[in-house]
């Protein structure tokens, strides 16, 4: 009799997890996953913070001279960036003036809220990272970026913690364009830390070194976020090039990222699209 109940428990648990799995395959996250992540992520966050502090103590004892050199370099970089900022302010004001004259309204990209990276997991099947955004509660599909470029999007929000799918993940994709020629394509991760730019015709002009940015037409990522640079171009067997990209972001050095909180599409347009798609 006891065997019967034990076997029944086994079957029940296995069936429940099969249901969870099949719902995951369709792309939805579950309440249970969010709850589990919200419970365990603080432990990982504490561990990660402790590791950083311990590492910091070790680093502070080494190379005072190296620190002085690095400090001098950073001060020079800050001066250069301050001058660049003043110049860009002028450009921004001129752009706003011209926009007002012509009646043009650009797409809003919203605010970027800083978030701490708890850990980056590129050893698992899906390439993800877990972040902690203390000021906001991230929502699904919000873009995650750094000053260098695109990191990915939120796939599992769990309170202030979130799991983010990296753009280098093989199931990740983003609409992109070659900045120089404005030719549009699709960037997909190769699952090994690299990126591929797809659907660029053989007759299109693309060169090694071309900068690739988000095209802003997929409803997830706003336009103009750097994705990477073309590192290899080869003719494909069909109609399109085989293009490899070097990501703009070094995922091994991620410490803090920004979660973009604005909507790429206005809410009423999103609703219409949902209605049309049934």
């Amino acid at each position: 009799m006891r065997d019967f109940w034990v076997n029944a428990l086994l079957v029940l648990l296995l069936l429940g997890q099969l249901v969870l799995l099949t719902s995951q395959v369709e792309g939805d996250d579950s309440v249970l996953e969010r709850a589990t992540l919200a419970t365990l992520a603080p432990i990982s966050h504490w561990t990660s913070t402790t590791l950083d502090r311990v590492g910091g103590v070790g680093r502070s004892f080494r190379g005072a001279r190296a620190l002085r050199v690095a400090n001098a370099e950073l001060e020079a970089e800050v001066d250069r960036l301050r001058h660049e900022l003043v110049r860009l302010h002028g450009v921004e004001e001129e752009l706003e003036r011209l926009s007002r004259i012509s009646g043009y309204q650009g797409a809003a990209s919203g605010e970027g809220v800083v978030a701490d990276v708890v850990f980056v997991d590129d050893g698992s099947w899906l390439r993800t990272l877990v972040l902690y955004a203390g000021r906001i509660v991230p929502r699904r599909n919000q873009p995650v970026v750094t000053p260098e470029g695109l990191v990915g999007r939120v796939i599992t929000p769990a309170g202030h913690y979130s799991k983010v799918q990296l753009i280098t993940d093989s199931t990740s994709s983003a609409s992109a364009m070659i900045e120089r020629t404005r030719r549009k394509g699709l960037v997909q991760g190769d699952g090994e830390g690299g990126l591929e730019l797809r659907f660029i015709p053989l007759r299109a002009d693309v060169r090694v070194g071309d900068r690739i940015v988000t095209a802003g037409i997929d409803g997830v990522y706003p336009r103009g976020i750097p994705i990477g640079r073309v590192s290899k171009v080869a003719p494909g067997g069909g109609l399109f090039h085989v293009i490899e990209l070097a990501p703009a972001v070094d995922f091994g050095l991620l410490d803090q990222v920004y979660v973009l909180t604005g909507d790429v599409l206005p809410a009423d347009v999103k609703e219409e699209l949902v209605d049309e798609s049934g």
């Binding site: 995951q24 579950s30 990982s44 590791l51 390439r127």
Partner: protein
């Protein structure tokens, strides 16, 4: 008490997982602390509890990692149930047999995960045999060390209690 042990085990496994990812990047592909916890709990020979613990540890791993949620939950449930059943039938003791249990448990987990991936998502990807062997070896080694370490600790603790009882008995005469 068992629930507390499981929760502490999950917390420690999460911390070890974070350290592994932060320092070694690809370590979770070969060393799963949650699987080791499942097999360790199965040594108590309680099938229902081992099955439930397998689900909990697997789901915890899936939540933290980039796995499909439920993938390792399913696999660890099978492993927990099977390991506890084997323990009940054959009473496995000693470091060699316990190590073998951990190795076989890891093999079963890898096989179930590979089968589910093949069936549900990526039909064209074969599992990495070298990675599977590494996982089995690492799980066997660390599981054996954990078993020996806790057995040593429990022996020491029992010896300490007996010594203490003897001292109290002498003092009260």
């Amino acid at each position: 008490m068992r629930v507390a042990k499981l929760l502490v085990g999950l917390a420690v496994s999460a911390a070890i997982y974070t350290v592994g990812v932060a320092w070694f990047g690809r370590l979770p592909r070969w060393l799963d602390p949650f699987l080791i916890l499942t097999l360790y709990i199965s040594l108590e020979r309680e099938r229902p509890w081992s099955t439930i613990s397998g689900s909990a540890t697997g789901l915890a791993f899936d939540a933290l990692s980039g796995s499909l949620y439920g993938l390792h939950g399913f696999a660890n449930t099978v492993v927990g149930y099977a390991a506890a059943t084997v323990q009940q039938r054959f009473v496995i003791q000693g470091p060699f047999l316990v190590g073998l249990l951990f190795v076989v448990g890891a093999a079963v987990q890898q096989a179930v995960v590979a089968a589910l991936q093949f069936l549900l998502v990526r039909g064209d990807e074969m599992p990495d045999p070298v990675g599977m062997l590494l996982t089995m070896a690492a799980t066997g080694l660390l599981g054996t060390l954990l078993y020996l370490g806790t057995a040593r600790f429990l022996d020491w603790e029992q010896h300490w209690r007996e010594q203490r009882r003897r001292r109290l008995t002498i003092d009260t005469r």
